[in-house]
Structures are given as structure tokens and as C-alpha cells.
């Protein structure tokens, strides 16, 4: 719409103020992480990387980062496999029943995680999944399915169903059709879903607070304890690393989308 109807000064001012409100508080953690002081503050006599060194020398922080990473990878695999197959099935069958399945798949986005977390706390007890790696992977994997279902369904909406029918008509089995016809076409949607499912698990705190305690101690859990107990600049260093990591993942997603569009 450029040029036809430019925004007025009031709208422009509001938009700029909001953008600054969104972005500046996140950027402020960068100078705080580089402070030369021992407490949370802006650098006074110059910048220092000591707090990053503290994080990289701490077995606790590194252990939690590694644990979070492995959990997120496993949970993403679970979400992507289940979510992609489900989205393809719903797309191909496309009846009332599958509309219901799709709505069901959205529930983890709608129901607050606190409700699910207290449910899991009781549910996992008898199953022996409390404070277990597998328990957290299942919880994160299941709640990551909606992201994959949404992105894959969006990709499928642009896919010509006659291609699938042609493949089947020429004698391809269901698995051959999936492998050679459908999956290559929707790969960008699957990758997007995988990235979102990964970030979902990597950042997830509420469930972890209830179903994990000692053996499984993820990065968000350690940050949570840090915020509540000792606010030191090492926390800001961790926050900066997290922001960098998330930004890299999002840039990967953008690049993939651009390549698939271009």
C-alpha cells in the first residue's frame, strides 16, 4: 500500500514508541552482561567478558544447557514425526472427524500450561516418569505437536492434491507417495514446525517446574532459580547467549522460507 495513504504522525509516533518498548528492554541485557562490576549494572570503567567466562566455566550452567538441548532435540523429533503424519492424514481425508482431530491438536496452545503441568505431576507419578528425561521429552513433544500441525497444514494448503492422486493412480504405495511426492513438497513447512517445536521445548519452564526436580534440571529451570535467588551478571550473560541462539534459529527459518519461495 506504499505511497497511496501514508500514516499520520500520531500513528507513526505510537508505532515507534511501541517498537522501542518491545526491543530496548531486550537489548539492555547486552551492556549489563558486559559489565565490569560484580553486580547487575551498566559497565563503569570498560567492558569485560568475565561473566561469560563464569558461565562457560560453570559445570552447572553447561550441564543444564546440554540437558535442555538434548531434551529439545528429542522432543522436536517426537513432535515433527507425529505432527507431520497427522497433518498429512487430516489433509487427505478431510472430513468432519479430521476437523475435530485438528481442533484437538490445538488444545495444547489454548489450555494454559499450568493446568497441564499440575495434571502431569499427578499422572506421571504412578508411571515413574517424574524427574525423568523421558517424562520431560514426552511432555514437551506432545505440546509441540500443534506448531508442526499448523506449519505443515499451511504448507499442504498450497499442495495440489491431484499430484498425490496421480502418484497413487500410477501404482505408488502410500509410503512411496509420502516419501517421493508429498514430503519433498512440504519440507519447508516441516522445517519451520521443527524450529518452533524446538524453541517451545528449549524455553519451556512451567511443566519442568512440576515434573522435574533434581536429575533433570533444564536451562529455563536454572534461570528461574537464578532470578529468584541471586541476581548476578552471569544471568545476563546467559540471557544474551539465549537471545543470540533464538535469533540464529529464526534467521535460519527465514532463510529456508525465502529459498523455498524464491
Amino acid at each position: 500500500m506504499d505511497g497511496i495513504h501514508p500514516t499520520g504522525p500520531a500513528a507513526r509516533g505510537l508505532a515507534w514508541a511501541t517498537a522501542l518498548y518491545l526491543v530496548l528492554p531486550i537489548l539492555i541485557i547486552v551492556p549489563v552482561a558486559l559489565t565490569d562490576q560484580r553486580y547487575l549494572s551498566l559497565p563503569q570503567d570498560g567492558i569485560s567478558f568475565q561473566h561469560f567466562r563464569t558461565v562457560f566455566a560453570s559445570p552447572e550452567w553447561l550441564g543444564s544447557i546440554w540437558q535442555s538441548f538434548i531434551i529439545a532435540v528429542c522432543a522436536t523429533v517426537l513432535s515433527v514425526v507425529a505432527g507431520t503424519l497427522c497433518a498429512i492424514g487430516c489433509w487427505r481425508i478431510s472430513r468432519r472427524a479430521t476437523d475435530l482431530v485438528r481442533v484437538l491438536m490445538l488444545l495444547p496452545l489454548i489450555i494454559p500450561s499450568i493446568v497441564y503441568a499440575i495434571g502431569l505431576y499427578r499422572y506421571f507419578g504412578p508411571l515413574g516418569l517424574l524427574d525423568r528425561f523421558a517424562g520431560v521429552v514426552i511432555a514437551h513433544g506432545v505440546t509441540g505437536i500443534p506448531y508442526v500441525v499448523i506449519t505443515v497444514s499451511t504448507a499442504l494448503a498450497a499442495f495440489d492434491p491431484r499430484l498425490e492422486q496421480a502418484a497413487r493412480g500410477m501404482g505408488a504405495s502410500l509410503s512411496q507417495t509420502l516419501r517421493w511426492v508429498i514430503l519433498p513438497r512440504i519440507a519447508p513447512g516441516i522445517f519451520s514446525g521443527a524450529i518452533f517445536a524446538f524453541i517451545h521445548s528449549w524455553d519451556e519452564l512451567v511443566m519442568v517446574l512440576f515434573i522435574a526436580s533434581r536429575d533433570v534440571f533444564t536451562l529455563p529451570r536454572r534461570i528461574w532459580d537464578g532470578i529468584n535467588e541471586n541476581l548476578d551478571p552471569a544471568m545476563a550473560a546467559v540471557a544474551v547467549l539465549l537471545v543470540l541462539f533464538t535469533t540464529l534459529l529464526l534467521m535460519a527459518d527465514r532463510a529456508l522460507r525465502r529459498r523455498s519461495e524464491g
Partner: protein, 281 residues
């Protein structure tokens, strides 16, 4: 299997893993929450009676509703400004604006709460700067109260308000605006009489989305409220983890689910819900 064109049993099998996972590991735990709320400490609706008799339960509900309403209004107002500017921006500028909305959306909610604590606490950057500049002598109480919660929550919710509004504004035909201008309407009139009414579906969708996300929000209110201002989610966690009152905790969790479903049902009559979740990812 079956003739091409009619979906066979194989396609149904594709749905099965996700469906089983969801039923066993999602619906199961949720149903258990509903069940506990009417069976513990004793069978019956005793826990629900507390909504009418317990002052602390009522206080939590009222505080939550108040904070959610304020958050929704502010997030919608700020989000509308951004969505409007994005819609009318040049393609190049559009990319940057969208980045400013999407990057905060995906950055860890913990990181953002931590950033706000750094800025707003007593010896925080805002108070220190104001004191050094001589504007104030005593630090302002900016966090660990309702003000802090709202600042952090609005920050979290603005992107969720922008996305559905942006999706609906994209459908507005720019020629309508040009035509209104050509017919002699001022910029303000074009906005009030053409753009604003046409963007109403997006506003409603954003309203529902922000409100239901705010209702059950846990992390940001817990960190920025400092345990003094309790919202529903933190109250539930307190009942379960500290007071071991499963009946009360699950009762409130059940109420939360029903409040969210009721909001969705009411709004589904006036707004297409696909607008809300179609643009979520």
C-alpha cells in the same frame, strides 16, 4: 489398498500416533485435573463452593480479571499502532517492523522477565538513572507489584495482538483508502470511517487471543509480581506445591479451562476463530 481418490485406511493410520500421544499424554492428565477437583478432599462440589465463600479465592479471581483486562486493552492499543503502520509501510520498511514484532515473540519469556527486573527493581537501571539525574530522590516502586506485572505482560502480549490484526488489515483494499481521500475525506476521517471499521475482525481476534493467553499466564506475573500480587496461575501452583491442597488447585484450574472455553464460544459467534489460530505460527 483402495482405489485412488478415496482415502483408505492407511491415511487414518497416519493420524494415529499423534492422536494416541495426545489422548494418553495430554487429554488424560487434563481429565484427571477435572476429576480431582470434584473428588478431593471429599467427593462433591465443596471446592467450587469456595468461589462464593472464600475471600482469598474471590480476590485472586478479581485481581486476575483486572490485570487481564488492562493488559488486553493496552496490548491492543499498542499493537494496533504497529499493525496499522506495518500495513501502510513500504515493503522494505515492512520487513524491519515485522522483525521488531517477531523477534520479541520468540525470545524466551524468562529472558524478557529478567530484563524487566534488571530495569525496574529498586537499584535497577531506571531508578538509578532517575536518581542520578536528580528527578527523584527515593526509588520508585516499579516492580514486585501490579504495575510491574502489567508492564511485563503487555510486553509479552503485544506481538500476539499484532499478528491477527495484521492478517485482517492485509485484506483491506488500499484503493478504498485512496478513494476516500479522493472524495475529500481527511486522514482522520479515512481512518475512523473506512480503515477502523474494516479492521474490526482483526481487533476482535486479537482481543480473544490476548485475553485467553493472559488468563493463565504464569511466569511473568510470578517473577514481576514478587509473590505479593497473585494471579490465578501462580495461586494454583502455590496450592499444589506449597500447601498441597489439590482440591482447591484443580478447582481453580478447571475454572480457568472453562473461562477460556466460554470466551472462545462467545467470540466464535462474532469472529472466525481460524483468524486467531491460523496466524499464530
Amino acid at each position: 489398498m483402495t482405489a485412488a481418490g478415496r482415502p483408505g485406511i492407511g491415511w487414518w493410520l497416519l493420524i494415529l500416533p499423534a492422536l494416541l500421544l495426545l489422548l494418553v499424554f495430554y487429554i488424560g492428565p487434563i481429565l484427571q485435573v477435572l476429576a480431582i477437583s470434584v473428588t478431593e478432599p471429599e467427593p462433591g462440589l465443596g471446592n467450587y463452593e469456595r468461589i462464593f465463600t472464600s475471600e482469598s479465592v474471590q480476590r485472586v479471581i478479581i485481581t486476575t480479571l483486572r490485570i487481564c483486562l488492562i493488559t488486553t486493552v493496552l496490548a491492543l492499543l499498542l499493537g494496533y499502532g504497529i499493525a496499522y503502520t506495518i500495513t501502510l509501510a513500504s515493503p522494505r520498511a515492512k520487513g524491519w517492523w515485522i522483525l521488531a514484532v517477531l523477534v520479541p515473540l520468540w525470545i524466551s519469556v524468562l529472558v524478557r522477565a529478567f530484563a524487566w527486573v534488571t530495569l525496574l527493581r529498586r537499584q535497577g537501571l531506571v531508578n538509578n538513572t532517575l536518581i542520578n539525574a536528580g528527578v527523584i530522590t527515593e526509588p520508585l516502586p516499579l516492580v514486585w507489584n501490579e504495575f510491574g506485572i502489567i508492564v511485563g505482560m503487555v510486553h509479552y502480549m503485544v506481538p500476539f495482538a499484532v499478528l491477527p490484526m495484521l492478517a485482517s488489515m492485509r485484506e483491506i483494499d488500499p484503493r478504498l483508502l485512496a478513494a476516500a481521500r479522493g472524495l475529500g475525506a481527511s486522514r482522520g476521517q479515512v481512518f475512523r470511517q473506512v480503515f477502523l471499521p474494516l479492521s474490526k475482525p482483526g481487533i476482535l481476534a486479537a482481543c480473544v487471543l490476548v485475553f485467553i493467553f493472559s488468563l493463565g499466564f504464569y511466569i511473568t506475573p510470578a517473577i514481576l509480581g514478587g509473590g505479593k500480587t497473585l494471579m490465578v496461575a501462580e495461586w494454583i501452583s502455590l496450592q499444589i506445591l506449597d500447601l498441597i491442597r489439590w482440591g482447591l488447585g484443580t478447582m481453580m484450574a478447571t475454572m480457568l479451562i472453562f473461562a477460556i472455553i466460554a470466551t472462545l464460544v462467545v467470540f466464535s459467534r462474532i469472529v472466525d476463530l481460524r483468524r486467531i489460530f491460523g496466524s499464530g505460527a
